[in-house]
């Protein structure tokens, strides 16, 4: 363990990226994510990596995908307006199965909104922001240390599943300072993409493989192949054959959904015999913890399910945890983007939404009120 120190969520994110092996950052400044770019501009050249401030976010994510195909672990960081601009190329990364990490430090939208105010308004955009059916992984940390851990995990998941991974940090977590003890870099477990071992003539960048994740060769490593956002066959060449398009689409969903138990992480606190369950994520989960502490002091049977992974949605655990409960409270700094998923599973009569879209944090009192309300 390194020495404890005061650190901001955004800094922890950048430090986590470097610890995970990130060696390329391409992005465009935007509040409240800019600290990440600034950290990377300073630190990446020290570890032999590259930082570039691109001309906009579209270019930022494009450069990230290009660098990743060149074999570098790569990331970008942004906030709402920039996240909107990135969507087409996030879909390209999903389509071409190129690992990359996109951090979105969520601020209040829509549009320019309130740039320095927190929000969780981009949860559904992370899921469906890019056109067309595609799977996605999105993680959401609730503390500074967890921002470090989940950024490492984002890289590991993106490498392991050959997919873009989105880290949804809310502005509160991004900017808050906490005392943390980060693991030493040699103690961080970094996973690298599987590279091909077969001779180049046999290599199929989109071939079938166990666990549905084919090996990915870096450009310039002796494997010459084609990458395209068009539907493609196992060699990467464009195809419009229905017997190639559909199986490909099924595979990329299967590789994520089939591993939901590995990908989806959560924490529970006293959910076993709880009559009221709070399902929360990000900084709101902190308010939820406090509300639960107070409620328990009043002898209420309440439990917390805190989601660290938002997509793929942890359907099974929501079902299990919420089955016996009488009431499920979903507090969010949006109008119910995760609540709608919880309602789908737990039934909407059980679920109470607690929402805020004014750029202010949800207070423990608001959650307590929802516990007490008839």
């Amino acid at each position: 363990m390194a020495a404890p120190r005061m650190m901001q969520g955004n800094e922890a994110c950048a430090a986590g990226a470097i610890a995970a092996g990130c060696r390329f950052f391409g992005g465009y400044p935007i509040t409240p994510s800019t600290d990440i770019a600034e950290y990377m501009a300073r630190e990446l050249p020290r570890v032999g990596g590259v930082f570039i401030q691109m001309e906009d976010e579209i270019a930022g994510i494009a450069a990230v995908i290009g660098a990743s195909l060149g074999g570098a672990k790569a990331m970008t960081a942004t906030s709402g307006p920039g996240f909107s601009l990135m969507q087409e190329n996030i879909g390209y990364a999903a389509m071409t199965e190129v690992p990359c990490v996109i951090v979105n430090v969520m601020r209040l939208g829509p549009s320019t909104g309130r740039p320095t105010s927190p929000s969780q308004g981009d949860v559904m955009q992370a899921r469906w922001g890019s056109h067309g059916d595609h799977p996605i992984i999105a993680l959401s940390p609730a503390s500074v240390l967890e921002t470090f851990e989940l950024t490492v995990r984002a890289f590991n998941l993106s490498e392991r599943y050959r997919t873009p991974v989105i880290v949804l940090v809310d502005e509160v977590v991004g900017h808050m300072r906490e005392k943390v003890t980060l693991p030493r870099s040699e103690d961080v477990k970094a996973i690298d993409r599987i590279r091909p071992s077969e001779p180049p003539e046999w290599y199929k960048p989109y071939g079938s493989s166990p666990n549905d994740v084919p090996p990915l060769a870096s450009f310039g490593s002796g494997y010459r192949y084609h990458v395209t956002g068009l539907h493609h066959d196992s060699a990467g060449f464009p195809t419009d054959r229905v017997d190639e398009v559909e199986p490909w689409a099924r595979r990329i969903f299967r590789k994520i959904k089939g591993s939901v138990n590995h990908i989806a992480q959560y924490e529970t606190d006293g959910v076993e015999d709880a009559r009221t369950i709070v399902v929360a994520y990000g900084s709101v989960a902190r308010a939820a913890s406090e509300a639960i502490r107070v409620a328990r002091s009043r002898r209420r049977k309440v439990g917390l399910l805190r989601l660290k992974t938002l997509w793929p949605f942890p359907t099974r655990v929501i079902g299990q945890v919420c089955r016996e409960a009488r009431r499920v409270i979903v507090p969010e700094m949006n109008l119910g983007q995760i609540a709608i998923e919880v309602e789908r599973i737990a039934g909407d009569r059980k679920v109470r939404r607690v929402n805020r879209i004014d750029g202010e944090m949800i207070t423990p009192q608001q959650i307590l009120d929802a516990m007490e309300a008839k």
Partner: protein, 289 residues
């Protein structure tokens, strides 16, 4: 036939990729031939060469070529290429784009790639129209010419690609046409030899849309026009402005290698920061497996 004997054949992908998508007589194939011959003359290692494109008829080119190839999103080829180049400064990268790809939706990336003087060789196939989508207005469609979205004639002035490139900071800027395939080949070669941002504008015929909409004839007539209407820079210098009206000026418009390219400058940053050794190790580790 072997590599080094001017055989395009050796650099084409034969499995599954032909026939190509282009209309019979389209000029894009000629540009592809010029690129391949330039690569061949320089004996670039295909394993260390990448061809990156955006979206459009032109951008279908990489799929036929046996290199590391990437067909990206409309307008963004240079941004993808920038990431690859910085991650892999050891690679030669050629970026092929249509005029809309490079200068409309990708215009911002284009001027910034030139400003940075990043070591990429960009080839713009300028057919003065949007070919792939059926003949809409392009930022290089000449004044008063017709497009499906300019049915009464175009009132937008055309971007002068060479002037724009020079002003934005490109190291090498040249223009030729698909009639002058050897000249094109020479310019692509110089572009590849230039450490910095190179722009080769290749005027090309899209008889299927632009030619048809403007009664310019078929591929042969449009080719003949490139032959007859074009003039070298040298010859153009002797002519008055009004005599140059409607003429296509060919030649090298700019070649300045005094400015360091972006990868070299970033390398110096890594040295300053103390990470140059680690950068070497990283790049070496990505070499041949």
């Amino acid at each position: 036939m072997k590599r080094g004997e001017h055989s395009a054949y050796a650099y084409l992908r034969h499995s599954k990729r032909f026939p190509h998508v282009w209309c019979p007589g389209c000029g894009i194939g000629i540009v592809m031939g010029a690129i391949i011959r330039a690569v061949d003359q320089l004996q670039l290692d295909p394993d260390h060469t990448a061809i990156i494109s955006g979206i459009g008829c032109t951008s279908r080119m990489p799929v036929y070529m046996d290199f590391n190839t990437m067909h990206t999103t409309h307008g963004r080829a240079l941004a993808f290429a920038t990431g690859l180049k910085l991650a892999r400064p050891d690679m030669h990268i050629i970026v092929v784009m249509g005029d809309g790809d490079a200068l409309a939706i990708g215009g911002n990336h284009f001027i910034h790639a030139a400003r940075r003087n990043i070591d990429l060789t960009s080839v713009i196939v300028n057919n003065q129209i949007y070919g792939m989508t059926g003949g809409q207005l392009s930022p290089t469609t000449p004044f008063e010419m017709r497009a499906t979205t300019a049915p009464y004639g175009n009132i937008d002035p055309a971007f002068p690609i060479t002037d724009l490139s020079i002003a934005a900071g490109a190291a090498f800027v040249a223009r030729s046409t698909v009639y002058h395939s050897q000249e094109l080949e020479k310019y692509v070669r110089t572009g590849l030899e230039t450490r910095g941002f190179a722009v080769i504008e290749a005027l090309s015929n899209c008889h299927t849309t632009y030619g048809r909409l403007n009664n310019l004839g078929g591929a042969v007539e449009m080719m003949r026009h490139f032959k007859q209407a074009s003039i070298t820079r040298k010859a153009a210098e002797k002519l008055a402005a009004e005599e140059l009206e409607g003429r296509i000026v060919r030649g090298v418009f700019h070649h300045d290698i005094s400015r360091k390219d972006y990868s070299t400058l970033y390398r110096e940053i890594q040295e300053k920061a103390g990470g140059a050794e680690l950068a070497n190790e990283r790049i070496d580790s990505m070499e041949m497996v």
